[in-house]
Symmetry: C2
Subunit: 139 residues, 2 copies
């Protein structure tokens, strides 16, 4: 992978757009997986603009449903995701982005977002905080 | 993992239910990952009944949005998923099921659903069909 991540041509972006079944809100869920370790980092949503920007730049950009704005992962925190490969599932309604995550993916400062599991009947945090969230967002 | 998969108590199921943020349709997306290889198999949806059944039985059950019915993975095809561990993400709106997949996860007969990628500007199938779909569904 190049330092910039995998960047796609306009033709490739058009191919992807034609294959993606965006939902009624114009969104598609995208799973981010660390390309070498296989770790699932997070799941977030993309609209057409986010897919296009991600593919054009090689840097992963989501659509924030809460902020109703493009969410360039790492723009604030510095913990961005370089795109390695983009996959589209069988019915086109879910994306898989193989990425190279800088730092941590989760806003809680953990490497990935899936750090809660049931242990002895109790919801338990099974992954450590690696980065103080205050330092991630300049708080 | 036992042959039956990981089965949770009612107390654990109640803990999970309290932590999951089901959407306006009462659904939550669930990513299925092969527990040992890290392969992402598929993404599908669960409602409360599907989460409860999955956790109670140790066999993964989704909610089919197209059929509007519980979808006991493998019930028709024989290609089921035994639950190894269930994870809940930071904001409770996505689940990660670590599973042991019998056979293939995708209805196309491929091991996983994410078999389409852009190669030389063209959408390309990058994984082989391992099982004839006709044999999976008695077609």
């Amino acid at each position: 992978m190049s330092v910039a991540g995998t960047m796609y041509t306009s033709a490739a972006i058009a191919e992807a757009m034609a294959a993606i079944a965006f939902d009624a809100d114009g969104l598609v869920p995208c799973i981010a997986q660390q390309h070498d370790s296989g770790e699932i980092l997070m799941m977030a949503w993309m609209n057409r603009d986010a897919v296009a920007e991600t593919m054009r730049t090689g840097r992963v950009c989501y659509w924030s449903r809460s902020r109703q704005a493009l969410w360039r992962k790492g723009e604030t925190s510095g913990h961005g995701q370089r795109l390695v490969d983009l996959r589209i599932d069988c019915d086109g309604d879910t994306l898989l982005a193989l990425v190279d995550q800088a730092g941590v993916a989760c806003h809680t400062g953990r490497r990935n977002c899936f750090f809660r599991a049931l242990r002895d009947d109790a919801l338990t945090e099974i992954a450590p905080v690696l980065v103080d969230p205050k330092t991630m967002y300049g708080g």
